[in-house]
């Protein structure tokens, strides 16, 4: 390879002399950033010092851990549609971001991470708090770049924002050496609008569009599965129009949830390992599958060899590498989901599919009898997670943003939570990161300050990032936290029960007094163990002015169904 190439912006006479650190802040302002999540340290101190002078322009939320900062930025990005920005110091600060970066990469969340780095002369010497964060983050970033001179800062950040949000979004990382932060140079900012080696949105083949439309028009049992791509491209309206014109039933993936209101008559539920019965089962009955902005994750498909073999598949996707990656499609429609759905709309016939829709209805009844009824109205004394969600729905009527962690409570939340608005379901999908919920809820609330944000978390996951209660208190962030406490790492326990003959190896938890912890942080809290108090307690929490923590003791050994076990086909979805 040749000498390391550097980014050097072309200067104009509008430039002004400043330090690299101040240039970072000025660049952020140019990108309309008014909120940062971060944690300071030696190698990023010049940037923090510059921030001191820009407190009016940029609000900085000091979390209690860098993982908290990045999950908060993810929650912010997911709830707002904007790019989340995180700053951290070198070494441990940077490595603490890694889980969040991996999470954002697999869930296509636009993030710009800025890390400090040791001075450039120390690079490669194992200097104090030096880690090769570029090397470490390479497999989990959409792009990353190390800046060693102040001059590169504006262009590196302009590229970073452009790359993070364009096409299929993702996390980028810009690592800035401390000397580059101190260095004085002539600052001039130009937004990045294109990169010659990067084609964020491929052009859609018009012929394929026509073929797709006639396939849709001919099919007797068409079925739409939509994913987060609909939300990312802002195609909610277009999806709805297509559904309503064609009469096609539609199911969501975990991350697609809330793109379509859950009350929509053609919304049939969620697919996936713990998705709804009909949506899974009937995947293997449809004759045309229209996959919109989803990537056929293994938790969606189950056994690929027995996944939707009978149908013709149309795959609407912005990322060419997703085409035929897991599921071979008949008609790929590459491009922006919103534009593609807009172009499809005039080409498809007005239609209805009452008999086919009725299949979903039948499945829904079966699921209600076998699963939902037991979840919502359990015969046992112990509370179930499902009835908590049912009560929340009764009170909020689908108006709140629901942030969940990972485990049984997540699957229950995503199965049952009602959504009226898009960007209302925030959860860690592809990575399944425990500890995501509490900090992500912080970001979600800052993104949607006028909406109720409910964080639903397990006793296990809560303890992975509970220190962020400190952030919630310090910044007066109004989040309603519900711990569904089963005193187990519930989802793992469920697998132990079902697949490891109930050998509960290290999944039982001796928990602290969560109420005392919340109170220790100055947050109102209450614990309930009885059904009688549930509705009142939820109402009290939701009308409380400010953040509130409600611990609900639920049955220790509840299971989540339906379930498509690993290796099973979607047709083998179990109800018990």
């Amino acid at each position: 390879m040749g000498a390391p190439s550097t980014l050097v912006s072309t200067k104009t006479n509008t430039s002004v002399a400043l330090s690299g650190a101040e240039a970072v802040i000025k660049s952020l302002i140019q990108e309309d950033v008014d909120l940062l999540f971060g944690y300071p340290g030696g190698a990023i101190m010049p940037v923090y010092d510059a921030l001191y002078h820009y407190q009016k322009e940029i609000k900085h939320v000091l979390t209690r851990h860098e993982q908290g900062a990045i999950h908060a930025a993810q929650g912010y990005a997911r709830a707002s549609g904007k790019t989340g920005v995180v700053i951290a110091t070198s070494g441990p600060g940077a490595t603490n971001l890694i889980t969040g970066i991996a999470d954002a990469q697999i869930d296509s969340t636009p993030l710009v991470c800025i890390t400090g780095q040791v001075i450039s002369q120390l690079l490669g010497t194992d200097g104090f708090q030096e880690t090769d964060v570029i090397g470490i983050s390479m497999p989990i970033t959409k792009w990353n770049y190390q800046v060693t001179s102040a001059e590169e800062i504006p262009e590196a950040l302009a590229k970073a924002f452009f790359i993070a949000r364009s096409g299929r979004p993702g996390p980028v990382l810009v690592d800035i050496t401390k000397d580059a932060q101190f260095e004085q140079f002539n600052f001039d900012y130009k937004k990045c609008e294109s990169i010659r080696s990067y084609n964020p949105v491929p052009t859609t083949d018009q012929n394929s569009l026509k073929k797709a439309a006639s396939l849709v028009n001919e099919s007797k049992k068409p079925y739409i599965i939509f994913g987060q791509g609909v939300i990312l491209s802002g195609a909610e309206q277009e999806l709805r129009q297509l559904l309503e014109k064609t009469g096609i039933p539609a199911a969501s993936t975990l991350l697609g949830l809330s793109a379509l209101p859950t009350t929509h008559p053609q919304y049939v539920g969620m697919v996936g390992m713990h998705g709804n019965y009909g949506p899974n089962l009937l995947t293997n009955e449809c004759d045309t599958l229209i996959a919109v902005g989803m990537r056929f994750d293994d938790r969606v498909t189950g056994d690929l060899k027995r996944y939707c073999k009978q149908a013709k598949i149309i795959h609407i996707e912005v990322d060419p590498s997703e085409i035929d990656k897991n599921v071979k499609c008949d008609i790929p429609l590459l491009g922006d989901a919103k534009k593609i759905l807009q172009s499809l709309l005039p080409l498809v016939n007005k239609s209805t599919h009452p008999i086919w829709m009725n299949e979903f209805e039948k499945c829904k009844k079966i699921e209600f009898e076998k699963v939902v009824q037991k979840d919502f109205f359990p015969k046992k004394d112990q509370l179930s997670m499902g009835e908590v969600l049912n009560e929340i729905n009764n009170i909020t009527k689908g108006d709140s943003v629901v942030v969940s962690d990972v485990g049984q409570h997540q699957m229950i939340s995503c199965r049952y939570a009602q959504f009226n608005y898009s960007r209302s379901n925030i959860t860690s999908g592809g990575l399944g990161t425990m500890g995501f919920c509490l900090p992500a809820a912080i970001g979600a609330k800052l993104a949607q300050p006028l909406r109720q944000v409910i964080a639903i978390v397990g006793d296990g996951g809560f303890q992975m990032t509970l220190q962020e209660l400190g952030t919630i208190k310090q910044f007066g962030i109004d989040i309603k936290i519900i711990i569904l406490n089963n005193e187990f790492l519930g989802m793992v326990r469920q697998w132990q029960e079902l697949f490891f003959e109930k050998r509960y190896a290290h999944t039982e938890m001796q928990n602290p007094d969560f109420i005392a912890i919340a109170k220790g942080y100055g947050i109102e809290a209450k614990k309930i163990t009885e059904r009688e108090g549930l509705n009142d307690a939820l109402k009290k929490m939701l009308t409380h002015n400010g953040s509130y923590l409600l611990e609900v003791r639920v049955g220790k050994e509840g299971n989540v169904f339906p379930m498509v076990a690993t290796g099973a086909s979607v047709s083998e979805v179990r109800l018990e």
Binding site: M1, S5, M138, W143, I195, S197, P320, S321, K325
Partner: protein, 173 residues
């Protein structure tokens, strides 16, 4: 999964630090062995060229190329079977000088195999042969009885036979 074949992947990139790492990660993540790798400039100023040889199914090589093209600084990537490319590798053999002094056989070996002597030192000579892997391997076997002090072979460099791509795809400013 389809028949396993040798594929040459040609990758045209911006010349940025770390890109090699980004590209090799795509292979290691899938536990795929890179048979050979070469990096150099290309005919277009500022555009770098990677040549990677893998033995995989066509389905896999298609997926690899898509993942490679997904990298921001990769301009384009292509894959070809051997029949569609002209390719060469270069091999260097270091042998004791006395093998040549004493052996007319070695001299004819070099001649017959279209190899040449690159350097002669007091203690050793260096033979160079350009060709396909089978050919350079073949010479290696033939030289072995005379004692080889060192052997090294380069990565494959390859030029494709179809004319269409590069320039037409590289709509560069």
């Amino acid at each position: 999964m389809g028949e396993i074949k040798t594929y040459t992947i040609s990758i045209f990139t911006e010349n940025h630090v770390g890109l090699l790492n980004r590209i090799t990660i795509i292979f290691t993540k899938r536990r795929l062995n890179i048979e050979s790798l070469n990096t150099s400039e290309s005919e277009i100023a500022g555009i770098h060229r990677f040549t990677i040889v893998v033995k995989v199914s066509e389905e896999t090589v298609i997926k690899l190329v898509k993942q490679i093209e997904k990298q921001i600084e990769v301009v384009r990537a292509f894959y070809h079977i051997d029949e569609d490319t002209v390719f060469q590798e270069i091999a260097l053999y270091k042998v004791h000088s006395n093998t040549i002094v004493n052996g007319i056989k070695v001299e004819s070996l070099i001649r017959d195999n279209h190899a040449r002597i690159l350097a002669i030192e007091n203690d050793f000579i260096i033979i160079e042969k350009t060709g396909h892997k089978e050919e350079t391997n073949d010479l290696l076997k033939k030289l072995e009885p005379y004692g080889i002090m060192e052997f090294v072979r380069s990565g494959r460099v390859s030029v494709t036979k179809p004319l269409e791509h590069m320039v037409s795809f590289l709509k560069l400013n």
